[in-house]
Amino acid sequence: MEQVLIFRLGGEWFGLEISRIQEIVEEPRLDYVPRSPDWLTGAMNLHGSIIPVLDLALYLGIATMAPPGRVVVLAPVVAILAIGVSDVYRIVRFAPETFLPSAEEDNRRHHIAALYEYEGLVINMLDVVSLSASLQSI
């Protein structure tokens, strides 16, 4: 069983395994990073480490009503990166075999590894490895 954090980007629901998460932060103080793309919201200081914050909705091209309300800091083994999301919902337990395969297009463009259904909601499982790779390729 895998524990997955369900969070929201605009009107879409996403999921991320908590083994890839360091911590969830509520509206941290962000410092502006000069000459950065607009989806790089700024940089935050977490327990002395400077971590860039990504506006994931903006990066993935998902329309949102408000700027990110929560910041999910990824585990340092995955990437030195935090992602701004609209809201976090809860942590649920998924069996990986209940994942539905995602379309190849979605996987490439939106870094979605798989789909999962939870209480009538379609949860897009975020592929942080693919995301991190796409970021590093820029």
Binding site: L5, I21, Q22, E23, I24, V88, I91
Partner: protein, 426 residues
């Protein structure tokens, strides 16, 4: 010395005889011798004396008789202008007496005729004057008669006019009575109006008091609602804090779950606790949300209450203004009604006086009518009297004319008497 005719004859005879005798005595003295001469002389002398004496005497006597006859003829022909004048003599006789008597007759006749003539002239003049006066009086009485008839007709017209006047005055009096009774009714109606307006004013004041009471109550309620709203807002803030705490708790629970997962088997119990905390935080958030929605409902309703209170206050202010206006209007109505009452009362009094005046006028006009009918009767009587007078005058004029005619006749009759030489031309 008066000697009668008979004596004169006697004396003549005596003188003749004496002369015969004397001559017979004288002849011898003449120297005539012859007898026959003697006789002749004596006879001739006696004849001469007789002839002379007779001629003288008869001449005087005849002359006197002629004068007397002429005088008598003059008198009979109406000439009374001359007196009988016999030749002067030393021995007047009966012819003188007759002349004196004729003179007396002449004088008496002259006086009589003069007085008759004078009287008849005066009578004629008077008759003329009388006739003229009678004619004038007749004309005057005709005029008077006409005038009296006009007066009579005028009096009839006057009577008609007075009747009309009386009728008009009675109608006026009736109308005035109507006015007076209307004024009384107006006065009573005004009394009612004043009472009603006073009641209305009292009611308006009571309404105003109640409204002020309600207004202060409403203002109190408004203040309470505002206070309530403020408290509810405080509750809302508290709920916000609770919600915030719950979300933070939720976040902490999530982080605790992540930590527990990282701890592996050792963190399993901790993960359960974190899950329980997350559930508590969720239900807290849920309750806080319910409270929030309740608070927003309460706030909405409170705002509605406030709005309705404010509009109530506004409406009450408008109502207060309306009641103020109503009170003023009632006061004005009372003022106007009292003025109207005073006017109506004075109209009623004036009408009463007018009615009295009209009654007096009717009485006066009745008196005038009485006088006018009396006048008309008197005028008719006067007309009759005038007509009688006119007829009498005409008769009198006729009589005066007759009198004048008689006087003229009389004058004509006495005209043939001549009284004086100078007036013989009359």
């Amino acid at each position: 010395m008066r000697i009668g005719i008979s004596h004169k004859f006697t004396m003549g005879f005596i003188i003749v005889v004496a002369s015969i005798v004397g001559l017979n005595l004288l002849v011898p003295l003449l120297g005539l011798d012859q007898y026959w001469w003697h006789q002749l002389f004596s006879v001739t002398g006696a004849l001469l004396v007789g002839l002379v004496m007779g001629a003288l005497f008869s001449r005087i006597f005849t002359n006197n008789i002629r004068i007397l006859r002429e005088a008598a003829e003059r008198i009979s022909s109406g000439d009374l202008s001359q007196t009988v004048r016999l030749s002067e003599t030393l021995f007047p006789d009966e012819t003188y007496d007759l002349g004196q008597s004729l003179n007396k007759v002449n004088d008496n006749l002259r006086r009589l005729v003069g007085s008759v003539r004078e009287s008849s002239r005066r009578v004629a003049d008077s008759a003329k004057g009388l006739s003229a006066t009678a004619e004038e009086m007749t004309a005057s009485s005709h005029d008077l008669s006409n005038t009296v008839e006009q007066i009579s007709r005028g009096a009839e017209n006057q009577a008609d006019t007075i009747e009309k006047t009386t009728r008009l005055i009675r109608e006026m009096a009736m109308n005035t009575e109507l006015v007076a009774s209307s004024a009384h009714k107006v006065s009573e109606a005004v009394d009612l109006s004043v009472q009603t307006a006073q009641q209305g004013g009292e009611t308006a004041r009571q309404t105003m008091e109640r409204m002020m009471q309600i207004l202060s109550d409403v203002e109190k309620s408004g203040a309470q609602v505002v206070t309530f709203g403020a408290r509810v807002q405080k509750i809302g803030k508290i709920v916000e804090v609770i919600n915030n705490v719950a979300q933070k708790t939720n976040l902490l629970a999530l982080n605790a779950t992540i930590e527990a997962a990282r701890a592996g088997e050792y963190g399993r119990g901790f993960a359960v606790v974190a899950e329980e905390i997350r559930k508590l935080a969720d239900s807290t958030t849920e309750s806080a949300g319910e409270i929030s929605s309740l608070i927003s409902q309460i706030q909405e309703e409170g705002q509605g209450v406030e709005r309705s209170l404010r509009s109530s206050i506004d409406e009450m202010a408008a109502g207060k203004k309306a009641i103020d206006l109503t009170s003023t209007a009632f006061a004005e109505i009372i003022d106007t009604a009292l003025n109207t009452q005073v006017k109506a009362t004075s109209i009623a009094e004036l009408s009463q006086r007018q009615i009295e005046g009209a009654n007096e006028m009717v009485a006066a006009v009745d008196e005038i009518s009485q006088v006018v009918s009396d006048n008309a009767a008197a005028t008719q009587e006067g007309s009759a009297a005038t007509q009688q007078q006119s007829a009498a005058m005409e008769e009198m004029a006729h009589a005066a004319q007759d009198l004048a005619t008689y006087a003229e006749n009389l004058l004509e009759q006495v005209k043939r008497f001549r009284l004086e030489n100078s007036t013989t031309a009359d």
